[in-house]
Structures are given as structure tokens and as C-alpha cells.
Point group: C2
Chain length 231, copies 2
């Protein structure tokens, strides 16, 4: 399962820049005592819908998906995201329990800080509070606008959008290993698995992408962008 790591070096953590920049050395020391770093293997669940929220969690390395399950049992993928976007972002301040599940799409390291401690900090340190609010707002904005973007597209536009998302935002490379199954893409863009596969096959036939197992190469970026925009 999950292994606990020992050394405590929050002072030099990359994440400090992101939301903890307002903390002085003392607070950072304290932070160290309240944090725990966990490793999650690809596929493992980081937190589960309905579970009680007791930690402020953020992704240090890896890749995760945020999702929920509908009453009928199928999955809705809300977003797929890289480090320094929070993991337990959505509801930590507004809800007692997680509204959504988070699982690791790649091996991931998650840092967890006791939520009460974060709340204390928040109350004491206005700069920290402002930084955190800004970050949370930005993440929420991104999720909402992404959802709206997807909604306005048709099948092939959505598939193109996802491929571009991986290329530009997640991997910053035209060649990458797909971290998700075709079904997960389908659950992300709200289309059927069969049609996602069909569309990708089309793209392959037309020479827009190349596929070697899990590895994808985007050949014709421009065309993919046109399809994403205009279907």
C-alpha cells in the first residue's frame, strides 16, 4: 500500500512557492510536524467519495484523476491533473466529506497536512489565506471552464481536445504514453467508449496521430486544433 517517508524538508519543497510562500521559517517547521508524505502506485485511490476529510492534500509528483460515480455505477471523470493542483481541493473548506474520488494515473507522491492545522494558519496568516483562496479559485475556474469547453464540442472535437490537453498541458510533448484507458477518456468527455476508439482510429487513418500501444504521437497538431475547434 502506501509507504511513509521520513525526512522533513518542507523548507525546500517546491510546493512552498505555490501556497506556502507567506510562511516564515517557524511556521514551516511547524508545518513539517503536521505533514505526512505518501506514495501511491498507479491505480491506487488517494481519497474516496464519501470519506471524511481530515487532511489538506496536494500532489507533489505524478498524475491524478478526479471523478465520481453516478447512481447507475458509471464513472464521471471531472478532471485529470498534474502536481501543484490540489488533490483534495474541491470541498475541504465547504464540506465534511469528499464529494469526489481521486486516484493515481501514474505513480504519485501526495503530501498531507492536517486540515485543522491549515485552518489555524489560514486564520492567523492573511497572506497565506489569500494565496490559498486564489489558488483554490483558479483550480475551480479551470474545472468549470474546461467542462464548458468540452460541452460545446461534438464527438471528434472532444477527442481532439483531450489529445491536445495531454500534448500541451499534461506532457508538453507531442509524444506521450496515454495514462488513461479509452474508457476513461470516454468518461471524461461524456461519450461512449466505442466511439472514442472509433474516432482515434479515424485520426490514425488520416495520419493525424500515430499509435504504438499506449504511446501516442501527435503528427498533425494544426489539424487536431482545427478539429477541436470546429468539430
Amino acid at each position: 500500500m502506501n509507504e511513509k517517508k521520513k525526512p522533513c524538508s518542507c523548507a525546500s519543497c517546491d510546493f512552498r512557492e505555490v501556497v506556502f510562500s507567506y510562511l516564515d521559517e517557524l511556521s514551516v517547521e511547524e508545518l513539517c510536524d503536521h505533514k505526512e508524505e505518501l506514495f501511491f502506485r498507479k491505480g491506487e485511490i488517494i481519497n474516496h467519495e464519501g470519506e471524511k476529510i481530515s487532511n489538506f492534500k496536494y500532489l507533489k509528483s505524478g498524475l491524478v484523476k478526479l471523478y465520481r460515480r453516478t447512481p447507475n455505477g458509471d464513472e464521471q471523470v471531472i478532471t485529470i491533473t498534474r502536481p501543484f493542483e490540489f488533490v483534495s481541493n474541491m470541498s475541504i473548506f465547504s464540506e465534511e466529506r469528499y464529494q469526489y474520488s481521486v486516484s493515481a494515473l501514474e505513480d504519485s507522491v501526495v503530501c498531507m497536512v492536517n486540515l485543522d492545522f491549515i485552518k489555524q494558519l489560514f486564520l492567523k496568516n492573511g497572506g497565506f489565506a489569500m494565496g490559498l483562496l486564489t489558488k483554490i479559485s483558479r483550480i475551480n475556474d479551470k474545472i468549470i471552464s474546461q467542462t464548458l469547453d468540452i460541452r460545446q464540442k461534438n464527438l471528434i472535437g472532444r477527442v481532439a481536445y483531450v489529445l491536445l490537453y495531454f500534448t500541451n498541458d499534461i506532457y508538453k510533448s507531442r509524444v506521450f504514453d496515454l495514462p488513461v484507458s479509452r474508457k476513461e477518456i470516454a468518461d471524461y468527455i461524456g461519450m461512449s467508449t466505442a466511439n472514442v476508439i472509433r474516432t482515434m482510429s479515424e485520426f490514425k487513418k488520416e495520419g493525424i496521430i500515430r499509435v504504438f500501444g499506449k504511446t501516442i504521437e501527435v503528427v498533425d497538431m494544426a489539424k487536431l486544433e482545427v478539429i477541436s475547434k470546429h468539430g
Copy 2:
């Protein structure tokens, strides 16, 4: 256009309970000096996509819709909401400009407080900051989960959902005047106008609702709930 009101009685404003409960009398006095109360007639735009954000706005009375325009020019309605949910909520802390437009669906009163003043308060007063963050998180959560709920339904399920939303959340009454056009409902649930109308006609024929012009009466609540859940 908009008329400015004079008296300054933030101390007794309903909204004080919602996010300003942590403020002492002095801060509330100060708040008064930085606020402005504006009246918007049904149909008027409260803020526009792309406009610079300089105020923290919240709805005191009325009803508004949050929406954006796609590159092709059609509208996407993000949510329809009642007082005490912020108006300019989404991006005030994360963006310089509005990502979305807000317009009045009914005559509305909006209170506007200089954003810099709010930010000062936020930095100084931890309790206020926490309250605000909690509120913003909750609003964002609601938008996201609402969007996911809608996405998993089919045409008739979505229409049923909207009718129930007006009945239970907006008007708390089985009889109400529809504040939106059929087209706006369509833009809200992501279906075509013609099919929204067709579906409502079906509901009428089946005796689930009654329609007198803009006035809607939900007759068979139970059936509407079943349709909303199972299509």
C-alpha cells in the same frame, strides 16, 4: 439604467450573516463607505465577460443567470441562482477579468463593495477570510456537481431536473412563473430549443405539469422526480 441608493445600513443587512458575521461594528461602518447598491431591471446585464473586475458583488434580491458565449456565438448558461450566492463569485480572486457574464432574470438588487477593500479585510480578519473561502467553495462545488448531474441525464431527465430545480430550489413552490425562455433552458441543459419545448409539451399532455403562459404548475411531483432520475 441603474439607480444608486443612499441609506447606509449594512449593519442590519441580511447578508451580514452570510459572510460578514466576523466583522465588528467599526469594520461594518467602513464597509458602508465602500459599498454601493444597484438596481437592475429584468434582462439587464450585471457584469460582462471580459470586463475588468473591480468590485465584489453579491445579489441582495432577485434572480440571476451566469453564462458565457461560445466562439460560435451561442450561449452557455452555467447556473441560475438566488440571493446570497455571489454574483461575481467565480474569478474575483483568481482573475483580473470576468470569465462569465451575469444578467438579471428578475428585477434584482446587487450590492457592490470595492474589491481592494474586501482584500484588505480578508488579510486582516481571519474569521472573515475563512467564512468567505467556505462560501466560495460551496458555490463552486454546487456549480460543478450540478453540471455533472445534468450531464448524466438524457433529454427528458434534464428538462425534469430543471423544472424541479425551479420548484424546489428557486421558488419553493409548485406554481411559479418561468423566469427564462425555452431557449435559455436549452442553453442551460445543453439541448436544442425545439426539443425542450417538445418535452415540456409531452409533460403537459401526460398531466405532469400545467402551463398557463409563463406560469407553470407542477402537478405530479413524484413522476417528475422519477423522470429526472431515470430518464
